[in-house]
């Protein structure tokens, strides 16, 4: 496997909810234009970790982070970091599709409008079209951009949410169980989309579906009780894991 540049460097990361230590001493590198999958049983800290990558945990009272999360060498927790810009660069797609109850067009146009990224109507239209094409949704919605987004199927809604993230030109896309509400066909379409997106973007996905992690990711990390047990190339993790806890988890004998 060729080594892409490192996008995120995480070092000695601890995370607390009040007195509860949710993450302990996490260090790993996330490489650009790769798909990194985080797996582990419920409550193991993988979603908390994902949310540390764009400071989505900030609003939680009593939450506290120690250690470093560097995005292209910059500490994202530095007081001078603009959180809005951070979340533009590091977008997020959630478990349940959550389009705004507006038109398809307005959903995708929302970010660029709010962030003032638009130079006239034609420019916005171009952004919307490009984003929908990259999310492989364009062919399905081009004829009805003004239709309500809630009228789309769940799989289409999730791809719309991905288009909404893409519209603000992120570097990284975080996905928290993006397929758990979708049927198998819609799931495979999202996985295909992820493979296309990694040409341009860095993707980090949290998933309970180990076969999904095996199918789609370049590297996989196993979290267990707030610790990163093992992190490595997906093809190795699923055939020759080094740690017995990884072996037990992926063979379905633990967790």
């Amino acid at each position: 496997m060729t080594e892409n540049n490192v996008k995120f460097v995480v070092r000695d990361l601890d995370f607390y909810y009040g007195h509860f230590k949710a993450l302990s001493d996490i260090s790993l590198d996330i490489r650009e234009r790769e798909i990194t999958a985080l797996i582990g049983p419920s409550g193991c800290g993988k979603s908390t970790f994902l949310r540390c990558l764009n400071r989505m945990n900030d609003p939680i009272p009593d939450a506290r982070l120690e250690g470093q999360v560097l995005l292209e060498g910059e500490d994202i927790n530095h007081p001078e970091v603009d959180v809005v810009d951070l979340r533009r660069r590091v977008g997020m797609v959630f478990q349940k599709p959550n389009p705004f109850p507006q038109s398809v067009y307005d959903n995708v146009a929302f970010g660029p409008r709010v962030l003032g990224m638009v130079d006239g109507k034609a420019d916005l239209e171009a952004i919307v079209e490009r984003s929908l094409k990259r999310a492989v949704l364009w062919d399905e919605v081009a004829g009805n951009l003004r239709g309500n987004a809630l009228g789309l199927s769940l799989g289409e809604q999730q791809r719309l949410c991905i288009a909404r993230v893409l519209a603000v030109e992120p570097d990284v896309i975080l996905m928290d169980e993006p397929c758990s509400a979708l049927d198998p066909v819609a799931t495979l379409r999202i996985e295909d989309l992820m493979r296309q997106l990694k040409e341009h973007y860095t993707i980090v996905i949290v998933t309970h579906n180990m076969q999904q992690a095996a199918r789609v990711s370049d590297r996989t990390g196993l979290f267990w009780l707030g610790e990163l047990i093992e992190f490595g190339e997906t093809s190795r993790i699923f055939t020759r894991p080094k740690e017995s806890r990884t072996e037990d988890y992926i063979t379905g004998r633990m967790g």
Binding site: M210, Q211, A214, F238, T239, R240, P241, T246, E247, I250, T251, G252, R253, M254
Partner: protein
């Protein structure tokens, strides 16, 4: 290994393992009988060895189907996956060993009633060693015991040495007694089949090591 979470998988894999051992027993028996029919010049027994090989082929395909079903329905990973893949490779090797036993039996039939060129000494030794290695390699596979598997593979050197000795001796005889060439060649075929059986056992040992360690290595080039 199991704490009860993969009951179905564990039960189905245990069945695959049992079938692999059964296949091994059938072929071990075939190797033993191939020597017996050679020693006793028993053509009827030789024909039986050849006919019985069909059951080996059938069981091998049956096990392969079970392995495919296990992969398709249970999605094994890590050491579970390596074990199923190892089993699929091992049954191919065992089945080919059965073909070599049948090859010896076919040679016995070709030999007809002609007396043996010389008393059988090294061929029974090769046979005994090959059978011992086959049993030990399958035990190493079941026990996931890489150290034992390495020891088995090492023994193939002894089989190769015996083959070499037989080869040299028969070539020597052929060069002095042109009328013995045909009978010498028959014995050489038998020895060659046993030498190939030793190589197949080494493959099984390699798979047992791969299964337990994840290392894919050729042990005996």
């Amino acid at each position: 290994m199991s704490d009860g979470l993969r009951v179905t998988y564990d039960r189905e894999y245990a069945h695959v393992q049992d079938q692999v051992l059964k296949l091994g027993e059938l072929v071990d028996q075939a190797i033993a009988l191939s020597l017996k029919c050679l020693q006793e010049r028993d053509q009827e027994l030789a024909q039986q060895v050849i006919d019985d090989d069909e059951a080996v082929n059938e069981l091998r395909f049956h096990i392969e189907e079970e392995c495919l079903a296990l992969i398709a329905t249970q999605q094994p990973t890590a050491s579970d996956l390596r074990a199923v893949i190892a089993a699929m490779n091992i049954i191919t090797d065992i089945e080919r060993m059965g073909d070599h036993a049948a090859g010896i039996a076919k040679t016995v039939i070709k030999m007809g009633d002609e007396p043996l060129l010389k008393p059988l000494i090294d061929i029974p030794k090769m046979t005994a060693l090959a059978r011992k290695m086959l049993k030990a390699s399958l035990k190493a596979f079941i026990d996931r015991d890489a150290a034992s598997a390495r020891r088995v593979a090492k023994q193939d050197d002894e089989i190769d040495a015996l083959y070499r000795a037989i080869f040299d001796e028969l070539v020597e005889i052929m060069s002095h007694k042109p009328d013995a060439v045909e009978r010498a060649t028959y014995l050489l075929w038998c020895a060659h089949n046993l030498e190939r059986i030793g190589d197949r056992v080494t493959n099984i040992a390699e798979r047992a090591i791969f299964m337990s360690t994840g290392d894919m290595k050729e042990l005996n080039v």
